[in-house]
Every structure is written in C-alpha cells, then in structure tokens.
Amino acid sequence: MSADKISSNETRHIAHLARLALSEAEIEDFTGQLAAILEHAKDIESLNLDDVAPTRHALPIKNVMRSDEVRKSVNREEVLRMAPETQANMFLVPKIIGED
C-alpha cells in the first residue's frame, strides 16, 4: 500500500478475500471510501495519546463468562434441512482447493 493512497487493486484484493463480486464502478467508489477512512485514521494518529490507555472494548466491561455446563444442542435434521446439500449427516460443500 502506498503511503497515503489505497489503489483499486487493493480494493479488488480485499473484495476477493471477502468473496464480494464488485463492478468496476463499485471498485472505484469503495476505493475512494476506503481512502477517506484511512485518511481519518491518520487524523487520529496525529493526536498525542500518550496519557490515554488502550481501548480493549467499546464498553467498560471485562471477564463476562458463563459456567461450563452443557446445554441442549439444536436438532440436527432441522439444521441439515437448511443446507443446500448434505450426505451422511454432514454438510456437503464443493471441492475446496483449486476453486476460484
């Protein structure tokens, strides 16, 4: 990535990682939007934040946990019915490697 501008190829790469099919017009549009977001991050970087503790969560909460107790799982048949294809009570997915 260049120091200040994101390229349309980088937008294409990110879209591919998220399996998003974007038109050329959308690529242009999102490249501009992503650049504006990065620009805003630079604004924050320019602030002196030495005295500010890192934010680990948007809310001032921590250690929210549950006890280690088994709860009923969902009905398998009901879940499998939602899948496009199944076999032997498993989800059938297309060939994984080499797909594009």
Binding site: H13, N63, M65, V70, S73, R76, A88, M90, F91, L92
Partner: protein, 488 residues
C-alpha cells in the same frame, strides 16, 4: 562430509492442545470426541446470524493452568477474529488471540538434553470443524467435494508456540513428549495424540554451519504422532539442505506431511495465501484475570513432571548413572512413577523398583500402544508383590521378569498361582545343597579351579544348575551357597 554435518537445523513448534472442558469455548454444546456427526452444534458454533458467543470460564482457568505450568506470565488478553474463507468455520472467521495472548514468556526444560526451550506464547482459540475430502484419491487434491462435521468447531484450544530453540528431530520429539506430560499433569487436557487432542505444526529451517542468519522456514502440518514429527523434520531438513547445496533457494511455504509416502509436499499457494485481516472480536469482552485467582490456580497445580523426576532421583543415594537417569525419565514418561514410589514405600530397594518399572513395565506399555502414550494400567499391587519376592530372593530376577510379563498379558493372573504353575517354589536350603553336591562331583576340575580363584567359573556352575533345573533355581541363592562352600 555428510550433508547433515554442513548445516544447522532450527525448529520451532506450534502445539494445539484441546482442553478437557465439558462444553465448547463460546457455547454450551458438548465437547465430546467421537459423537455422531453434527450432533453437538448450535446457532453460536454454526455462526448463525444473531447468535452471540460467551466465554467458558473453565476454559480460561485451564489456559491459566497451562500457562502457569509452563512458567508463563499471565496477562490481560483480548480475542480477535481471524478471517478466512474455508468451510471448516461456518462463520468465515476463527476466534483466536492475536497480539494480546493470555500467556507469554514461558519455558520448558528438556529432560535429557541440557536445553531450556522458550515458550513465546500460549493463546486461546476455538477449534475448527472437521472436513472429510471425498473423491477418487481421498486426499485434498483431486477431491470432488468435502463433507463437514461441525462437532469440533468451537472446542477450546490452547496453542503453545515455542521459540525456534530446537535443533534436531530428537529434541523436537522430547519437547512434545515433555509438553504432553505437563499438559496431562495439569488435567487441562488428556494429551491423546491419536484422537487429535494434541496436534503439532513444525517450523523447520536450515542454515550453513558457521552462519548466524536463520534460513527461510517451511511450516509442516499434519503431524499426528511423535513418529510422524521426527520423520517429517528429518525429511524436510534434508530436502532443504539438498536444495541449498544445489544452489536453489527455499520458498517460505506450508507443507503437508504424507505419512504413507514419508515426504512433505507444498500445499498450493491458495491454501496459505490468506490475509487474515485480524480485528478485535466485538462480541466478546476482554479477559483480565484476577492475579490472586491466578496465584490460587497455580498453587493448586499437581506435581509436574520435573518435580516427579526429582522425586524418583531422590530415592537413590549419590550421583545417578546415565542409565539410572534414563530409567527415571522413562518411569515419568509412562506414568509409572507412582508404581515405583509405592514399591519403595513397602520396602523394595529403590534401584530394583526403578529398574523393573523402567525396563519391564515401560516396555509392556510401549508395546501395547507404541506412540499413543496410554497410561499404564499394570496392577500396582501385583507389581509390588513380584519385586518384593525378588528383593527377598524368593524368586530370581529371570523369574520375576517372567511373572511380570505374564501379568502384563493378563492383569487377572495371581502371583501365587503363577509361581505354582511355573514351578517357582523356592528351593529349600537342602535342595540347593544337594544340587551343589551333584555339580561339584560332576565337575570336580572346574570346582578346584574356582576355589583356586578363577571366579569367572561361578557362571559356569550357575549355567549348569539352570540347565538341570530348567531355569528354576535362584542363581543368587546358589551363588551365595557356592561362596559359603568355598570359604568353608
């Protein structure tokens, strides 16, 4: 000069350890190996929209136990999403810890190499689902489709990452073996490699002797046993050495170990070219363990393998020989140390208990399970009974080994019944005396030479006696009878 002598091997290991909790890391589905496919699943581990994860408090406690047992610093931590597009995680991301893991800066001492391996980090994450590739070859390449079982998706893992401090396959195997013993001691994991509770990835690089800069590393996946680990490292190191010697360079890549063919092969770049785009998981809160609780967890840890070895070493007086040190390691490695300690408590000499534990018992465990580390189920009382008889001279060492071997193949055998069946009834003093009379009269020349100081002939007489009695005579008793006779 062999090619292996021209290069230095550097190995770092990533060990994934499944935690023995009742439920998954972020939902209440059962954490159970071997269930029917897709029976332990719910909206959270299926990544259905609107579902929300909540951290399992026992998984956090187990991670702290593991960190403490590895002398790690326990720190505040956060979970991140590791984004990737692969059907083993229905959410399209795996929740893991990234730049703020729960445990950092630990160490592990190898028992038989003078080496301390640094543990860089031990972080929490969720396991992925299990995919089975179906196609003509049954392997990933050429698969026509894959079947996915999400029972494993969301099982809590701790990934323990070592520094690149190991320099041979033997060291790597010993590291995993010792780490497994520590994990089992913490009761946070069952350490069963054969069930995938412990999975190892190895980062291997080589560099020419006399150079400092580490070579380009390759990461080997699919190492499901100590044997695979050792073989894969040796193969991969040799492959890299040969490439470098031929003037080629090493490409940083992920490689798959093929156990049947004994080779590593590169995974296609698509599989590794993930750009994970980590970001903090907004649905989970940070962890900030109370340091008093961490201290309580650390104090409650049971006795760990280094201390268990020390406990055995202290049974023996003075400096231990190399083989005695090995015996100590073997007993702890196969969880036989309690057998030995119990035997010593009943008055059996420590050296005898240690020898029978590490040589006989360990070999039975080893034969039964080879690489799978099954805990010895040898009946402790019978072990003690046999070696007590041996230490009192009531059975010979050969007889004791036979008795142990019979009990190993059938745990229900009674020692007294076996002694009866095998005719190990200790010969009376009169019978020994009569036997010796007969031996002396049949071998008078040899007896005179023995009396004249040719001590090696003692073995000749014991051999003869064994033949006459079909191995039933106690060699020690006969030897002391001979010594008494010579003096008299």
């Amino acid at each position: 000069m062999a090619i292996e002598d021209e290069y230095i091997i550097t190995i770092g290991l990533e060990v994934h350890c499944e935690l023995k909790t009742n439920t998954k890391l972020f939902c209440g589905c059962a954490n159970q190996f071997g269930s029917e496919p897709n029976t332990n699943i719910c909206p959270v581990c299926l990544g259905l929209p609107g579902s929300l994860p909540v951290i399992n408090e026992r998984a956090v406690e187990y991670a702290i136990r593991i960190g403490s047992a590895l002398s790690c610093e326990i720190r505040p931590s956060v979970f991140h999403r590791k984004n990737y597009f692969y059907p083993d995680m229905p959410k399209d991301y795996q929740v893991s810890q990234y730049d703020e893991p729960i445990c950092v800066n630990g160490k592990l001492e190898l028992p038989s190499f003078p080496k301390t391996v640094r543990i860089e980090r031990a972080h929490m994450e969720e396991d992925t689902g299990k995919t089975t590739h179906v196609g003509t070859s049954g392997r990933i390449h050429g698969a026509d489709f894959s079947l996915v079982d999400y029972n494993r998706a969301g099982i809590p893992l701790v990934e323990i990452v070592s520094a690149p401090d190991l320099s041979s396959a033997d060291e790597a195997r010993e590291y995993v073996s010792e780490l497994r013993a520590i994990l089992v001691s913490t009761k946070a994991s069952d350490g069963k490699m054969e069930e995938g509770s412990l999975r190892v990835d190895a980062n291997v690089s080589v560099r020419p002797l006399g150079t400092e800069k580490l070579g380009t590393r390759c990461e080997i996946k699919n190492l499901n046993s100590l044997r695979s680990l050792g073989r894969a490292i040796n193969y991969e190191a040799r492959r890299q050495m040969e490439a470098l010697s031929a003037g080629q360079s090493i490409r940083q890549e992920t490689r798959h170990w093929n156990e049947d063919q004994g080779v590593t092969s590169a995974l296609r770049s698509k599989e590794e070219a993930y750009d994970y785009r980590y970001f903090p998981e907004p649905d989970l809160t940070p962890l900030d363990p109370d340091m008093d609780e961490v201290a309580t967890i650390a104090r409650a840890l049971g006795i760990l393998p280094p201390a268990r070895r020390l406990r055995l070493r202290e049974l023996l007086d003075g400096e231990l020989t190399r083989s005695e040190l090995e015996q100590v390691q073997t007993c702890v490695k196969f969880d036989l140390d309690e057998h030995v300690l119990d035997a010593v408590r009943t008055g059996v000499p420590a050296r005898l208990a240690l020898a029978r534990g590490s040589n006989e018992l360990a070999s039975y465990v080893n034969q039964a399970t080879v690489d799978s580390f099954e805990v010895a189920e040898f009946p402790r009382g019978k072990f003690i009974e046999v070696i007590s008889l041996e230490s009192q001279g009531k059975v010979s060492s050969t007889q004791a080994k036979t008795l142990l071997s019979r009990i190993a193949s059938n745990h229900n055998e009674e020692v007294s019944a076996l002694i009866e069946e095998l005719g190990y009834k200790a010969a009376s003093q009169d019978e020994i005396s009569e036997l010796l009379d007969r031996l002396i009269s049949e071998n008078s020349m040899e007896w005179e030479r023995l009396c004249a100081g040719e001590n090696q002939l003692a073995g000749f007489f014991i051999g003869k006696a064994m033949k006459i009695t079909n191995g039933k005579v106690n060699g020690k008793t006969l030897a002391s009878e001979m010594a008494a006779r010579r003096l008299g």
